[in-house]
């Protein structure tokens, strides 16, 4: 609080001849009860800043925008940056579609500006700097797991770019996310974790969930409906799904205190808007669950192809907190009926086969729409040690061959780059499309194995980007005041919405040598050499002499006497 007041004071002291760039901070939390009894909480913190990082004079006065990220953007000429850390896998069939999708592990994709001359070197430096900012081992991102997609991952912000040579994408499926990643993430927020919605981000509860994902998205967006000027947008998102049974209770009842072990007491003073949305679309008359404290604010938004109704709590109003000065939302279930709308698109991936030599990767994509077909762009990045046989690639839907309208394949190079396979497939309505490709496992050099090789090696998730037909008309007007969760993916046409799905990562075992063998071999060889050669050498070169044993004392005295007498000794 004091910091905020101090900053305001400083702002007034700055001479008015230098106009300060305008910045704005908004925070929101969306809570969506899921049909399985779990609950999905999605935090979004957005900072908008009207400034130009790319100009000659370096930006030096940071207010709401974190300085570490601002310096990263200007030093590495970043056009867009998306980084996410996820623990767990998003179960589309049980939980529906997430607001912000992310694959298990760490994922980083960056669009660089056209002025960058050596994209690979800049990428390497950027990953090292980000690994220091987020306390993650992002420095393991190198050319062996970086790909350059040719059609996926178009920029989410402003820009009509066709040259994909400025795009880099990498995943680290093995990356763990824990409190040490959350701590620096929270420090990037203007209010830190001291005020506003971020007080709810307590690691003990967040990591005791079925799914936890924290991400940072930086891009340029239009400032207004004319879109003649742009501003930088930084979105920090946390998506968590809390398990009903994990939290140890019998009744189906959720509250802010149970989910986060905290309640809300105030909005962030630096935020222009701070709202809490509860999805009550399945509960129009209040027959499914009961929400307390009650609120009269309602809002409707078209998100993920569906029109959803939300109860809104505005945290900037004092009345929201009531007389106890704290907001502890309570959602109590009354009945267990209701079916979840089946998601229109979901995917699975698994490894088939047996043994440690060959295998087969199967990717299944389900189109659950009854009569519409839609295109899907599948991006697969497979590490080099699984040698794909692309001649065995087959795409079948409903038993028949389905030829993709666009295939882009970049073969791998051992220890240099991974396989990249991108395909544009049209999924027929109400069908399952199966993509299979066979592979062979390579034998790595013994220094390339990690310290725990028997755990297996991870293959990153496939990315499926698609334009799914929506049931209601999407809002293409990008300037109307919309809640943050509905304005993440830009919308160009009304009849469909863009969605990105990640499949499971794969865990494959490579043929692992016995690491104690060099030691065993050395011992055995040395023993054989010592015993075999040593004994042979002794036999050949040893000469034997007869030696008299030492005579006893009596005999020695007798010999001395005999020597004196001149008689030969005994």
């Amino acid at each position: 609080m004091e910091a905020a007041h101090w900053l305001v004071l400083l702002m007034t002291l700055v001479p008015s001849s230098v106009p300060q760039p305008k910045d704005d901070f908004q925070e929101e939390l969306v809570i969506r009860p899921l049909h399985s009894g779990d609950i999905y909480a999605s935090f979004q913190f957005r900072t908008l800043w009207d400034t130009d990082f790319m100009r000659e004079n370096k930006v030096s006065h940071y207010r709401l925008f974190p300085k570490s990220l601002g310096q990263v953007i200007s030093k590495f000429s970043v056009r867009e940056l998306h980084i996410s850390f996820t623990q767990g896998y998003w179960r589309t069939m049980q939980w529906g579609q997430p607001f912000i999708p992310s694959p298990p592990g760490a994922e980083l994709w960056v669009w660089f500006q056209d002025s960058v001359t050596d994209v690979d070197a800049t990428w390497k430096e950027l990953t090292n700097v980000l690994s220091g900012i987020f306390c993650a081992s992002l420095n393991f991102i190198d050319s062996t797991n970086t790909v350059q997609p040719s059609a996926s991952f178009k920029p989410l912000g402003i820009g009509n770019v066709t040259d994909h040579s400025f795009l880099r994408y990498a995943t680290l499926p093995r990356e763990i996310v824990c409190t040490e990643n959350l701590t620096p993430w929270k420090k990037l927020l203007p209010c830190g974790s001291k005020a506003g919605l971020a007080v709810l981000l307590k690691s003990e509860k967040l990591f005791h969930s079925s799914f936890h994902s924290q991400a940072v998205h930086i891009r340029s967006v239009c400032q207004d409906w004319q879109c003649k000027t742009t501003s930088w947008e930084l979105r920090q998102t946390v998506n968590s799904v809390f398990d009903l049974h994990n939290s140890g209770q019998a009744k189906r009842e959720w509250s802010l205190f149970k989910m986060f072990s905290r309640t809300l007491t105030e909005a962030c003073p630096l935020a222009s808007s701070s709202k809490l949305y509860i999805d009550i679309t399945d509960n129009p008359q209040g027959e499914q669950f009961e929400l307390s404290p009650a609120t009269s604010l309602l809002s409707q938004a078209v998100v993920l192809g569906d029109r959803r109704t939300f109860s809104v709590y505005d945290l900037t109003q004092e009345t929201t907190f009531g007389s106890v000065r704290s907001l502890n939302l309570l959602i109590r279930w009354k009945s267990n009926e209701g079916e979840m709308l089946r998601p229109l698109l979901h995917a699975e991936r698994y490894v088939a086969g047996y043994g440690l030599q060959t295998g087969e990767i199967h990717t299944l994509m389900y189109n659950n729409h009854p009569y519409r077909s839609f295109p899907v762009l599948l991006l697969d990045s497979v590490p080099w040690y699984l040698r794909l046989y692309i001649h065995t690639l087959s795409v079948t839907s409903k038993g028949k061959d389905n030829k993709p309208s666009y295939i882009h394949y970049e073969p791998s190079k051992d220890r240099v780059k991974p396989h990249l396979l991108e395909m544009l497939i049209q999924l027929p309505p109400n069908s399952v499309t199966e993509v299979t490709v066979q592979f062979e496992r390579a034998l790595l050099k013994w220094t390339e194995y990690p310290p725990d090789p028997n755990h297996g090696f991870y293959v990153g998730s496939s990315v499926i980007s698609s334009l799914v037909p929506s049931t209601v008309a999407m809002d293409t007007n990008s300037t109307r005041e919309r809640p943050l969760f509905s304005s993440f993916f830009p919308c160009k046409e009304e009849s469909s919405y863009f969605v990105r799905i990640y499949t499971e990562p794969l865990l494959v075992n490579l043929p692992t040598p016995d690491f104690s063998m060099p030691y065993n071999v050395i011992c055995l060889t040395c023993t054989v050499v010592a015993v075999g050669y040593g004994s042979l050498y002794n036999l050949l070169t040893r000469s034997f002499q007869i030696e008299e044993p030492n005579p006893g004392l009596a005999k020695r005295i007798a010999n001395v006497i005999r020597k004196m007498r001149g008689v030969p000794p005994l």
Partner: protein, 393 residues
Amino acid sequence: MLALLMLNILAYMTPNPDKTQIIIHLLSVISQNSAGQFFSSGHTNNWAVLVCTSRFWFNYRHVANTLSVYRSVKRLGIPDSHIVLMLADDMACNHRNPKPATVFSHKNMELNVYGDDVEVDYRGYEVTVENFLRVLTGRLPPSTPRSKRLLSDDRSNILIYLTGHGGNGFLKFQDSEEISNVELADAFEQMWQKRRYNELLFIIDTCQGASMYERFYSPNIMALASSQVGEDSLSHQPDLAIGVHLMDRYTFYMLEFLEDIHPASKTNMNDLFKVCPKSQCVSTPGHRTDLFLRDPGSVLITDFFGSVRKVELTMDAINLTDPIKQMEENPVNGEEQKEVYSYADQLPVSEIIHQKPKQKDWHPPDGFILGLWTLILLVFFKTYGIKHLKHIF
């Protein structure tokens, strides 16, 4: 005392205008004398390098050891920017941990040493012998971020804490490689020659830990180990809910000892040497002070574990540099922006289908191909003779 008495007498006796000047002069004399006491240790900043070298869930206690030292060091004032924390495996968010995001040091889950504000600099596979030695000697690749560097200078006191599985003369890193006591001694000598430390406190909690400090030969190093050569360091107590041993005995009693230390305490190293006698630890802790110049009795615990900032008093005036001039902002609304921006199409199907394949850059043929063709040509001309050349061309 005498000075204060004199001050009082003088203040009473002299007339007012001169009184203040004399008082100031006397005060400065007194403070400069006590200022001399501030510099008895000779260091101006503190660093800590805390390393846990074991992987796998059953080595939970090594991570708990390192985190409890991290906690004490942070509590006594060393900031995260001056701590290099290396944990070889993640125990807090391990799927076998019944209470995620926690690492406990006492059974019945009394003390969570992981906490809410922790920054791990090297984790997982990054904790290797090479990275450890590079951190110590400072020879890191240029793109390494600051939080992963040990930016100490010749007035830094560094605390180095190692824990894991070890043996006579070596310490095992992640079950796949070892660091020997000779390498460690050489690394410290490199640090000394590059003036990277003022004084170094080396604490090791492994089996046969005393063997690791036998080979040190650089000055100003004090070393403590949890067991002598030939002895094993034992773990303290298991927790039945978590299922593994939570801490090692030596670090457990050291943590208890450190919990009583606060930034202003005057406890010295001799008390630290007495931590965990044989009755509690079963092994005999050892220490080595022959390379250390000062008497251990005059070394405060907070010289290494805390970050006591020294204040330099000066009576000189210092000229500040000229204030930074604000750059003139170019008028933003100078001319009308003609171009209108728009968002990119996320899945432009027709564009993708008609996308021309990326023209790969032409590279001159590889050495292998050149060699192959040369071989073919040589064999051909060898077999058929050079006179056929004119028939071909």
